[in-house]
Subunit: 205 residues, 2 copies
């Protein structure tokens, strides 16, 4: 049986870091932005643009175009982002076929559902997420608590809508995951250690 582990995560909850630790422990591949790079190469779009589009639900960020109709200003973006999702789906399936892996984000739990991945959702109290964001922020970032809180909630909202749009499921809803963990408690190393042991057990080794 393949070890495919997918991680959905609230912004600032440490999901990416946990994914990396878990992949290290299990000695399997790790993917998140690598996927985007791959997509960018395939579609010849700039990586930055792809990254931006992937974080948003298509219908949400079409620019207002007073000279055109809503239809014409919406359609190209919608199609573009659907194309990216299709590419992404192919790439995720390729990767999961090639080798065991941990995949963070990108609706991988849904896209790879036929492979029955081990589906983790990572979350944390808002204050812990704020602390983690502060610790990881670039030196020149000076957000107030209020601004930081708003940013965290806005990213969550984008993820929720993106996930909902492409999967028809509710982001983070218990029934669609095998394990949901609150990283406000303990260290990510603790969680990685224990989850790696669990995955080994579930795979019978």
């Amino acid at each position: 049986m393949n070890k495919i582990i997918t991680i959905g995560r609230e912004f600032g909850s440490g999901g990416r870091e946990l994914g990396k630790l878990l992949a290290e422990k299990l000695q399997i591949a790790y993917y998140d932005s690598e996927i985007i790079t791959e997509i960018a190469k395939k579609t010849a779009l700039s990586e930055e643009y792809v990254e931006r589009i992937l974080e948003k639900r298509p219908a949400l960020f079409f620019p207002f175009n007073h000279s055109g109709t809503l239809h014409t200003s919406l359609a190209p973006h919608f199609n573009l982002s659907n194309t990216i999702y299709t590419e992404q789906t192919e790439i995720l399936r390729d990767m999961a076929q090639k080798s065991d892996c941990v995949i963070v984000g990108r609706c991988a739990d849904y896209i790879l559902r036929e492979k029955k991945p081990f589906r983790i959702f990572v979350y944390a109290d808002l204050e812990h997420r704020m602390a983690r964001c502060r610790a990881n922020a670039p030196e020149n970032e000076h957000l107030s608590d209020k601004q930081l809180r708003q940013r965290i909630l806005a990213v969550d909202k984008d993820r929720r809508q993106y996930y909902r749009f492409f999967t028809g499921q509710r982001w983070g809803e218990r029934k669609d995951y095998d394990l949901s963990i609150n990283t406000s408690l303990g260290t990510l190393a603790d969680w990685a250690e224990v989850i790696a042991a669990l995955v080994q057990r579930l795979n019978g080794n």
Copy 2:
């Protein structure tokens, strides 16, 4: 630090069995129906009656009384069940004070929130829960699939309403738990082993 572990659970998901395994592994006390026995002793109500009342949200099961007003038929039951909740709260606090323990159900996560228990929620796919119920059913129980499904969902509904009534929180909602596990995967022994290791880690030993 005390090891207080609370387990909320969907009916048929194996929460009680997991709780017992976990208590064994950690060599700490285990409570569920013991609490009820204790309450029954204190209040001099029959254990069976207490058990029945604890599974229901008070306002839901007052008998229709055509000869009285709604108010008079409702009030005694409401008060009785509130009294039981109050007793239960005291007993839970006593027990958690006395020693480390695993407590299944009874809103223990909420009642003991000041002790910062490790809060687990256990759930499973409906088909797995049906299979577990069948395996544990008394020999003379012959429910159809439809009847069994209805019974499972009805117990869940009672738990949800009872929990909501006394805690003001939503039963099973991610943010109020530290760990949510889908026992459709693996064995309860697997989960107990791994959660025991996690609890040890979080307690720094």
